[in-house]
């Protein structure tokens, strides 16, 4: 009974019995299993993400602190220039710029890293049976660690300019959760499509670049003509940025901004999840 059957399907079916035959799992079964297994294996994503950051600064004396230093130098160098250009006071502008650039850094690097999440992990995906969603957690770990290093600058700059932080800053926490969920959903879509179409990462890099200029990171909404406020209002990135950075700067994000984030989550989720579920099993063949 334990003999290997002939390869002929007819013989196979006869021996096993049609009723016993396993069904081909649906795309959603595969997706659910991938999701569940990626939670179970969280320690792997933690190790991989942590090593990604460590590897970049290995054998350097200062190590990961370079993340903080580089960002600090950038802000100190560019801050006064723009403060002059915009004719704003440095003690107003620098905290504003610091918070924005740190939060934007997280969003943009999540999106850019997402493009290579599967491509970069081809060795793992082709050799070992691993849940694919986990590689998105890996880039999340990586970018959270970088965000943590960069965020150190916020209290430094605030203290230097004596800018107070109110209890409204606590709203940045739910804001960060909203941003994380959105970034993960975008990453799910981008990681998959970029594995298939290798021009996509380049397209995404350029879109992120354009979004950087269209989002009030350096400039403020009040500095532009009201006719053009729609550029900020209907820019989902502006809303994502605002739900984290506004509370830190002492402002409650508007309901409109939360609404934009919710719409974004729904739209991206409704595209990304079915798309990933459909092509999940194909990814390994694309690498």
């Amino acid at each position: 009974m334990t003999d290997i059957r002939d390869e002929r399907l007819a013989g196979q079916l006869g021996e096993l019995g049609r009723a016993q035959l396993p069904q081909r799992p649906s795309y959603w079964t595969g997706f659910a299993r991938d999701l569940a297994e990626s939670f179970q294996r969280w320690q792997l994503w933690w190790l991989l993400g942590y090593n990604d950051v460590r590897q970049r600064y290995r054998r350097s004396r200062v190590g990961q602190l370079w993340i903080t230093i580089s960002m600090g130098i950038f802000i100190v160098a560019i801050g006064p220039v723009y403060a002059l250009l915009f004719n704003t006071e440095l003690k107003e502008f620098l905290p504003y710029l610091t918070v924005n650039i740190v939060v934007w850094g997280f969003i943009s690097s999540m999106i850019n890293d997402a493009c290579t999440a599967f491509i970069q992990a081809d060795g793992y995906i082709r050799q070992e049976r691993l849940p694919k969603i986990g590689f998105l957690y890996r880039i999340l770990v990586r970018n959270f660690l970088i965000l943590g290093h960069n965020a150190l600058l916020i209290p430094l700059v605030f203290m230097a300019f004596g800018k107070p932080v109110g209890s409204v800053a606590l709203l940045a926490i739910p804001g960060l959760i909203i941003v994380t969920v959105n970034c993960l959903l975008m990453a799910l879509f981008l990681a998959t499509i970029c594995a298939r179409f290798r021009d996509f990462p380049q397209i995404v890099t350029n879109v992120v670049q354009v979004a950087f200029f269209l989002t009030p990171i350096f400039w403020q909404k009040k500095q532009i003509l009201t006719d053009y406020h729609f550029v900020v209002d209907y820019n989902p990135f502006a809303s994502l940025l605002s739900v984290v950075s506004s509370p830190i700067l002492g402002k409650v994000p508007t309901m409109f901004e939360y609404g934009m984030c919710l719409v974004m989550t729904l739209v991206v989720g409704l595209v990304a999840v079915p798309f990933f579920a459909r092509f999940r099993a194909r990814i390994v063949y694309w690498l």
């Binding site: 396993p22 090593n51 793992y124 070992e128 179409f197």
Partner: protein
């Protein structure tokens, strides 16, 4: 109960070159197609497995033979769950261990010890389990003090020793081997061979893809011949090998 069931499994690889992989060509292809009224598909597809059906139960020891590119490694990867075939049904039960790329996950800048943890976690252990296993792995690898050094300082043989020690630390239900793992010097090769033998013996199901028929006979009692992705012959090892060698000689 460990089991492998493959029913009518087909695997094909779309080959995307830089040309076919870009969206531009995808768009142009559609346009081009319309002008020429030509439904010709430009993607090259390599059929790695065609309608493979197999059923393995505890006690089965299957050797896979066939020329290069016949689909042996692809079949092993279907069995390990790496490839989910676009056609057919796969059912695998039991803990599978595939000794294919045993150094996967190694980070050359990390110490040998850190790599034990990392590689074990890649293989499915938790960090705590990996720490527990580390002393045994360290002992088997015989690397001693070297484990505190980054593995970029290791020789190729030392890396293989470490990789082998980690990858064979856990006994699987189903063992998949792509060629025998050759590990280091004479002394360690012998030790590795013994361990592989012990693992193969304790494994409930063994599938081995190998060219050397002597080794094949010592491990397996059944064999399957793969040719261009199809099972050309299957049965008790002696019969299959006799036919295979006869056809190879002819």
């Amino acid at each position: 109960m460990p089991a492998i069931d493959l029913v009518d499994v087909s695997v094909d690889f779309p080959i995307y070159t830089a040309q076919t992989r870009s969206i531009r060509t995808d768009l142009m292809r559609r346009i081009g197609g319309r002008i020429e009224h030509n439904a010709h598909k430009h993607t090259t597809v390599v059929q790695a497995l065609r309608h493979v059906s197999l059923s393995l139960r505890p006690g089965d020891r299957l050797g896979l033979i066939g020329p290069n590119g016949a689909g042996k490694s692809t079949l092993l990867r279907v069995m390990s769950g790496v490839y989910e075939p676009p056609g057919g049904v796969v059912r695998i039960e039991g803990k599978v261990s595939a000794l294919v790329d045993i150094t996967l996950g190694f980070d050359s800048e990390l110490s040998g010890y850190d790599n034990i943890i990392l590689r074990s976690v890649v293989l499915g252990a938790t960090i705590a389990q990996a720490r527990e296993r580390a002393p045994d792995i360290a002992e088997f690898s015989e690397l001693g003090e070297f484990l505190t050094l980054p593995i970029r300082t290791y020789s190729a043989g030392m890396i293989t020793r470490l990789a082998f020690a980690i990858s064979t630390a856990v006994q699987p239900d189903i063992l998949l081997l792509d060629e025998m793992v050759s590990a280091g010097d004479v002394h360690f090769s012998k030790k590795a061979r013994e361990r592989t033998l012990a693992m193969a013996e304790s494994a409930s199901i063994l599938v081995l893809a190998i060219h050397d028929t002597t080794t094949l006979r010592s491990f397996c009692d059944k064999a399957a011949v793969l040719r261009s992705g199809e099972i050309a012959d299957i049965g008790p090892i002696d019969e299959v090998l006799t036919r295979y060698e006869a056809s190879a000689a002819a």
